[in-house]
Structures are given as C-alpha cells and as structure tokens.
C-alpha cells in the first residue's frame, strides 16, 4: 500500500507554476505579472490564459467571445438551467448561489457541458480514425452502434439550430471557417443525411469544431465553456428578483396528480413511557 507518503510530501508545501499573491505588492498569474504584463488583457484572454497557459491573438479571442455570446443560455426562465437561476431570484436567494447552481445544472447530458466535451471528443476520435485510413461512414456507423448517438447531431425540442448561421458568419469573417475540424463537423452531417439519418448538426459540434481548430484540447474546451451560460442566467435572476417574491410559475395543488401512497390516518394514542397523550 502506498500509505500517506504523498500527503506527507505535500504537507505545507504546494509547488506550482500557476500563480501567487504577494500581499500588497504584486500578483503572478502563470508566470506573468498581472498588473504589468496582463493588465491590458481582455477578460476572455485572461480566462483562456488561465485555462491553457497560452496567449491567443485578437482574432482568436473574438471567435472565443463570439462563441460565448451566440451560445449563451437564452434569457428564458423555462429552460432547465435558467429555471434554477430564476427560482433563486424568486425566493430571494443570492445571485452567487443562483448562478453557481444554474451553472452546475448546465453539466447536463442533453444540453450544455456534456454535449460540449463529447462533441469535441468525437471530432478528435473521428479524425484519428480518418488519419489511420477508416472511412467516415464506417466511423459514423460504429459510433452510433456503440453509443446510439453522436453528440452534436440531432437536437431535442427544435430540429434546426438557429445559432449555426450567425456563428459560422462570425467564423467566416474572422477566416476560421475552413479549419480541419469544422470541415469534419459539416462532413459528418452530410454523411448522416446521405445515410438517411435525420440528425442535423447542432451548435455543440460547430463550436467544438471551431475551438478544436484553434488548438484547444478536450478538457481545455470544456473548462473554457463552463461559465458561458452565465449571461442568460443573470438576466433570468434579475427578472424574477424584480417581481413579487415566489411568483415564478406557481403550481396550485389541484394541478398535481398524486400517485403515491394513500392518505394515512394518524391515530391518537398514548405515549407508553410518559403516559402523555400525543398526536
């Protein structure tokens, strides 16, 4: 057994190249002085530097910020994660708790963070197989046979994804619309449609393809996307906070069809120990 060797080695000792605060003096952020070398960085630039340790140029940052803008959570409190933010506002919880919980909920399977990481993961795995000589239809068949789906293709609720055109227009303007992975994302859609499978692409695989073309790894992409829905959540929180408390989509009892255990009668009886009547 390894025992506590690792813990003992780390006792009061954390070796890092991520950064440190020198109180009242300066801050080091991944080897750079925050207030001198990074003070003019955009928030998106600093986020990506924190996530990857790499500096991205102006055009790349416009793409990454555009993905966040176009793919943010729509400010509609009926959506799953936004409902959490909206409910937190309607019960007068704090914005920090509400937005944090709503972002946690966004690590969902049918939208949000899991499709994000699974979509970029599929593109990388598919590209590896293409590089080793496997044909695209075979890759697609094998993925569907194994997992019954391909993340980034097909969409619950609405068939057409209204975000693809504006995001591709932005990518086109920036000169990022012809990268290897975004082309693969569209090629997979064509192959699916050619095969009679009505699984049009959704925004998850488009954003994943564009980010992959800029060199983000699977986990870098996932971390970059974690806070992307926050903007719409704030709007939902602000909306419910400004309106009467508890008023968001209340349900009267009559609208709930209860199917559990039947009504139970609580008999009056005597507490054998104290001889007191209890209910």
């Amino acid at each position: 057994m390894r025992g506590p060797k690792t813990l003992l080695e780390h006792e009061n000792r954390w070796v890092t190249n991520v950064g440190a605060w020198f109180p009242g003096e300066r801050v080091v952020f991944r080897g750079k002085d925050l207030f001198h070398e990074l003070k003019d960085s955009s928030w998106m630039g600093l986020l990506l530097y924190g996530v990857t340790g790499r500096v991205f140029d102006e055009k790349q940052l416009r793409l990454f910020e555009g993905i966040w803008t176009i793919c943010t959570s729509y400010p509609d409190p009926r959506l799953w994660n936004n409902r959490v933010a909206a409910l937190s506002g309607t019960v007068r919880s704090s914005a920090g708790l509400g937005i944090g919980a709503a972002n946690a909920v966004s690590e969902a399977s049918i939208y949000g963070r899991r499709p994000d990481i699974r979509a970029i993961d599929f593109l990388f795995r598919a590209q590896e197989q293409l590089d080793s000589g496997t044909e695209l239809p075979e890759i697609i068949h094998s993925e569907i046979k194994k997992y019954q789906r391909i993340f980034g293709y097909g969409r619950p609720i609405a068939r057409r994804d209204e975000r693809i055109d504006p995001l591709m227009a932005l990518a086109n303007n920036l000169g990022f619309a012809d990268g290897k992975f975004i082309k693969l994302a569209f090629a997979v859609e064509r192959a699916l449609l050619d095969d009679g499978l009505r699984l049009p692409m959704n925004i998850a695989v488009v954003a994943a393809g564009l980010a992959a073309d800029q060199g983000l790894s699977r986990r870098e992409y996932y971390k970059y996307m974690v806070l992307s829905f926050s903007v719409g959540m704030f709007a939902c929180y602000v909306d419910t906070y400004a309106k009467p408390e508890g008023a968001l989509f209340p349900l009267r009892c009559g609208r709930i069809r209860y199917e559990g255990a039947c009504h139970r009668r609580w008999e009056r009886n005597l507490n054998p120990k104290r001889g007191e009547e209890r209910q």
């Binding site: 057994m1 390894r2 813990l7 000792r13 954390w14 190249n17 080091v28 750079k32 002085d33």
Partner: protein, 151 residues
C-alpha cells in the same frame, strides 16, 4: 454501489473489477477515477473508525453486503492496494438498505452535511484571521520577480 451491483458477493469478480475497472472511451465532464471507489488511496491500513463502523453496522444489518464486506475486507484491500474507506462501508450499508444508486447518492450527500456544517460553524467562531492560509506553504516555480512599469 455500482460495484456492488456488478460484483455482488463474488470475490474474484471484485478483484477483477478493482484491478481493471471499466473505462469510458469518451471524454466526460467527470474525470476518470484515480483509485478504486470506496477505498482510501492515501491510507496505510484500515482506520479504526472505519473498522468499528463496519463491525457495528454488520451486526444490525439484515442484508448480506456488510457482513460479506467484513469477511472479505482484507482480500479486497489487497486487490485495491489501499485500505477500505468509510465511503465503502456507506455503500455496502446502502446496498443492504435496498437503496438504488441514485437514492444512495442523495442520502450520502445529506449525511455528509453535518461535518461540513461543523467546520463552517467552527470557522465562523474563529473569524477570518484564523483561516488556515498556509502563508509559507506555496512554492512558485516561475516567479518573474517584481516587474517595473517599463518592464
């Protein structure tokens, strides 16, 4: 709890499962496990409260998991190359209580709260100045040093 569902009271199956856990080929928001679930990767031997809890719960359990775990603990620890943790005992108890994995997860989260609450209450009493800051515990590998306005 998922291990219990797969392996039941089959020691050989447990040993295989611990040594070669099923791996998800695709990336996920959750990171891969770095140690067998229910075991303590930094432990040298089974801690006294873990052993005591296992013995106590096994006495009262009408199910088979806790008793089987008690009888096979050392063999499982050898396969895992680390000692049983309290989370492993909790999983066996929830199997004996006939909870589903999802129900067990919820109950486990609830039962963890008192410990977190005790820490928060204690820290509130202490005040922020007594927060363990590890003031000399951080070693920065790539400190550029003070940078001047020109630098």
């Amino acid at each position: 709890m998922e291990c219990w569902q797969v392996c039941g009271q089959d020691l050989e199956r447990w040993q295989r499962h611990i040594k070669r856990p099923p791996q998800e080929e695709r990336a996920d928001v959750w990171l891969p496990m770095e140690h067998p679930p229910g075991f303590d990767p930094h432990g040298a031997s089974c801690r006294t409260p873990v052993c005591q809890t296992l013995v106590a719960l096994a006495q009262y359990s009408a199910g088979v998991a806790l008793n089987w775990l008690q009888q096979n603990r050392e063999a499982l620890e050898a396969a895992a190359n680390c000692p049983l943790a309290l989370t492993g005992v909790a999983a066996a108890a929830m199997i004996d209580l006939d909870l589903t994995v999802e129900q067990g997860e919820m109950l486990f989260l609830l039962l963890r709260l008192p410990g977190a609450a005790a820490h928060a209450l204690e820290q509130r009493e202490y005040g922020w100045r007594k927060y363990p800051f590890f003031s000399d515990g951080l070693i920065l590998e790539d400190d550029p040093g003070p940078v001047t306005a020109q630098g």
